[in-house]
Symmetry: D2
Subunit: 361 residues, 4 copies
């Protein structure tokens, strides 16, 4: 048993619900790296408990089957639950966790419909627990450097953004290709990074969206969800953000922000590590260095700090709900071929809470 899996005074105990690749390869190591969190329990399929026991540092009694999720209610050392399940299951688990009085960190997308997302936000409010959407890219120094370059005026007035995220989904049986479980295709899964990052960088909400889908008749992978999606966000001041996502194009994830005095480009932009930022102005090109970090540790540490202080997280349920509404509008725009106008609240970061600690910032 390693040190990080023992209850630790002043640290927040997490139960991670769902033990797929993300949990195995990223989240369990990330808890070890975190400052304010430790891994107190895992929840997985009953039949997977032995394997999970083998790969985790926990005692067998800390590994729960899904049907025993409710037993976490008795675990006072579990203050936070991290939901890492197929999108369509988010609502049920978040609501149950809230009823148990646990704070909830929920993987993105928050839900598979705006209605579900709304219910989840309400359930957490009613229970007096915090809800955070796990938007890891809003916690990295590279993404904050882009945002700072925009908001400090270093780039001059911003005119255009373009963001792209694609990879090839090879597994025809993946739940991500099942509309009921996923709520959509590349849009809610990887296109969401484009959408969410554009909003984060500008700190503003779009006034309208336009979109188009590619959903072929002849590709058996894409019977239920789109193969590719392309959408445009219109912001105040004429700023236009174009976003593209595909489940059938060789891996790429990149963004560009074009301003009158400069531009910022990140490529890669959305992967777990090795992000590369270039800022170009009249003086030349710069690739700033950033301290080493783990995206998932930053996320879990931020939420742990919020739990201890009672502060609203930077990316609360409301932030995830807003994207859910925008994605519904994007699907509508694609279906109708018409620009869909939105209620864009004024002000900056209206759906966000307390800014996180960003390494080196």
């Amino acid at each position: 048993m390693t040190a990080s899996s023992q209850p630790q005074p002043g640290r927040v105990g997490y139960a991670i619900v769902g033990v797929g690749q993300l949990t195995k390869d990223e989240l369990i190591p990330a808890v070890r790296e975190s400052e304010h969190a430790y891994l107190a329990a895992l929840v997985t399929g009953a039949e997977d408990k032995p394997e999970v026991s083998g790969i985790s540092p926990l005692r067998p009694e800390d590994i729960y089957a899904y049907e025993d999720f409710g037993k976490l209610a008795d675990r006072d050392d579990v203050q936070a639950v991290y939901i890492v399940l197929p999108n369509a299951l988010h609502r049920e688990y978040v609501e149950q966790a809230a009823r148990m009085g646990k704070h909830v960190l929920c993987e993105k997308p928050l839900a598979s419909t705006p209605e579900d997302a709304e219910a989840m936000v309400q359930a957490c409010r009613d229970a007096g627990v915090l809800l955070m959407t796990a938007y890891r890219c809003q916690y990295t120094p590279e993404h904050w450097a882009v945002r700072d370059a925009v908001q400090s005026g270093q780039l001059g007035p911003v005119r255009l953004l373009n963001l792209v995220h694609s990879h090839v989904e090879e597994d025809r049986g993946a739940w991500r290709l099942d509309r009921k479980l996923a709520g959509g295709g590349p849009l809610p899964d990887i296109g969401l990074y484009c959408l969410n990052t554009a909003r984060f960088v500008l700190g503003r909400e779009p006034q309208w969206v336009e979109a188009a889908l590619d959903q072929p008749q002849d590709d058996p992978r894409f019977r239920e969800v789109e193969r590719s999606v392309s959408f445009r966000l219109g912001f105040a001041g004429g700023v236009l953000a174009d976003c593209q996502a595909s489940y059938a194009a060789l891996d790429v994830n990149a963004l560009r922000v074009l301003g009158e005095q400069g531009r910022a480009a990140m490529d890669p932009a959305f992967q777990y590590s090795d992000l590369c930022l270039t800022v170009t102005t009249a003086e030349g090109r710069q690739q700033p260095d950033f301290p080493a970090y783990d995206q998932f540790s930053l996320e879990m540490d931020h939420f742990a700090a919020c739990i201890r202080s009672g502060a609203q997280p930077w990316t609360p349920g409301e932030e995830g709900l807003q994207d859910q509404r925008l994605m519904a509008a994007i699907y509508e725009a694609a279906r109708t071929g018409k620009r869909v106008t939105l209620d864009a609240p004024e002000g900056r970061d209206v759906f966000r809470g307390t800014p996180p600690q960003v390494p080196g910032r």
Copy 2:
């Protein structure tokens, strides 16, 4: 008098009409580099004749004022006229050149409206002279390498393209900001590279367009034309091409083509030299080398070869007319906020003629 300005057997004599920066910095040196062309005459403003005489290798009698353009009819050594004037003047000069029996190479965009473009194509047909639109990017080995990567299947099925072209228009008095002279803003000037290159690379015509403009009330530069434009082209097979152009964002010109087995990226993509192509597949990244060349020489040499052989140029007037129709549809889509469906002819390269010689291909 340098050798290249003397009538040369087997070479096509050009008269260049309009002596701005492009002619001074690019076209006059390019004729010197060309294999099949020589500079026979220049046409400029009456008051600019002495200065033009100073910077060109021509005899004073080879330099004409605009009002004497008609005198070129008597110059048998002038077989081709290259029109480098504000867009709105293209029609008048092309029609007059056709009447004089001169073949015409016309700068892009071909005209400022589809109607003008159509009239120009008709006038040249009626006169039995060739008309070519000066799309220099359809003659470079780099752009052909992208097209070849797409059409050979090296990238697998193509899903998404994105193309961007911007720079800052500082000169408030530029004719490019005058709607009457330019016919539009960044769309016909620099966004046209995105539009035309997407069509060239795929060899297909779009089935629909969607678009949005940014035309602010409060920026005196953009009283008549848009500041930025973003448009999407939908092709058969679900291929989506997103294009962005701006007159108010720091110089960038780049393209990406995303396929299931690979991607091609060019950055810079639309400038006069130093294009940089990267092709990425499962094996890694490759930056092929290409022979040195001058884009404008290639263009003039191709047209000269067509004149001598009687072949239709690769980018004839019809190619420029098609873009003119598409740009009209883009403006309509932006105005209405609706997807505009187009007549997309089937077949490859339906508006193009004889493929050019491409260095190293």
Copy 3:
């Protein structure tokens, strides 16, 4: 306790001797990733046992104090010992391990003098155990790709190599700055990568060396060892390899191999991950992709496979001994200002054993 720390049939049990940053950050995780090895024991300072217990997956009884190193003789499950101690201690521990019948993987440099290295090779021969020098860069696909590019003739005849490795040694109390413990300064520590890689890539031994040191009077860090070193290796056929290393220059590690038909450049070249190889020929530049791997796992897996098959490792003690002799010649050349001629055995890879399995090769 994780699965990887339990005796496993068919796997080789390692005891790692010395628990500094390298062991904590790289070797313990690497054993987890390995296919053929598992961690059976750790040997550390008596006072560090509790801390080591906290960070390792081992039972307390598997953690030994240095003075109890001899007790490993009774651990049949420990077949291999990995020595990760200051250079001057290598000989003593290797000899004792050999006497206990354990196979030995020893960190580079093999020793602090040629005499010590020779004695170690002899001791392992006498005891009938294998000795391998831990030259991790001879096991990566990137380094093999450079070697293959050279030896396949893809680059044409090779003329020049240059290799550089530097970083800033900030810790004035580091054992690496103590001549008795380290046997030298940047030469045996980081310059050795340049030396060893040049020999590996060519598969040949140098015929002479020339060198110069920078050992200032006025920098308290460098009272005992050189601050920088620069040396040149002369190979048959006129191939010249220039190498530079410094303890007082911002991190850089890179190599170039220049041939008549092409060149290979790796930058970074010697760090633990993210190596980047570019091969340039008349056709253009290529950056091949390689499968993911852990350098230390590859090393430990290769040695484990040799132990099971009885084969000589690719980088046996003899390989480390040869570098030790060359480093002595480099110091002599630097001291005398004269070219030092060497006995260069003919043939390829004369000091190397069975080639390793290289991922993706």
Copy 4:
């Protein structure tokens, strides 16, 4: 006849002696771009006069045969002579030009032996004319940016430099492969860029040199001169500069300067255009932008300005003579295999004159 080939008040008239590729492709266009110079005459082989007449903007009477070089004495409008001949002919033409009272810009290397170089410097002193060595890299903003990064302390104390310059000499009949005409092989031709740039960047003179040659028996191209050369320069403070040059390795030209707080890398570093500088410090990487310029125009403009003001050029004959002495020492070190100690004058830039105007500095 273009404007730039007419005598111009306030401009310095140049006669260029030698009309090979460099003169045709670079120098004639460069004079056109210059601010303070114009082309007044060309000197070439008697049989080449017609061809030279065709490609130049000069009147036939401005084109001289070599045997008529002395007639330039009567041309008051020719104030400067630019010597672009095989190295071994430099002395004769410089001395004759000096006798005619013409200022002399001489291509690098200044001569083929230190004795010749010394005589040339003396002849110009005696005649009271200026002598400048055409070291174009000492006039570019990129090279000055490296020097400024070093001398401002931005990189911290400098420890190591490495510089490499190679290409494949295909033409077996080239005068560059003839020892009598060239005075050596890649060392005086392209290795000189490494030598001269190291000295320029540091502003200091080396205290010793070490070197090795590759001159094969079996390559017919290299019967008279070395194929490759590698040399090391030792400077005060323990700074070591390693340089490599080859006539038989695919084109590369690059430099690195490694300091304790940062490093500068230029790749390419020595070609006529498109130099690319990267400066790395703890903050990240930066690629500064520089204004456009022509290296040869900068050189000719600097010399013209010196002629008008009477100032000593930045790279006078003495600068070329010092390199000649160093190259002789390098050949000696290579021959003997011993470090050769030199008289290194103290002080900065001891062989240099008035700093040039550097674009954007």
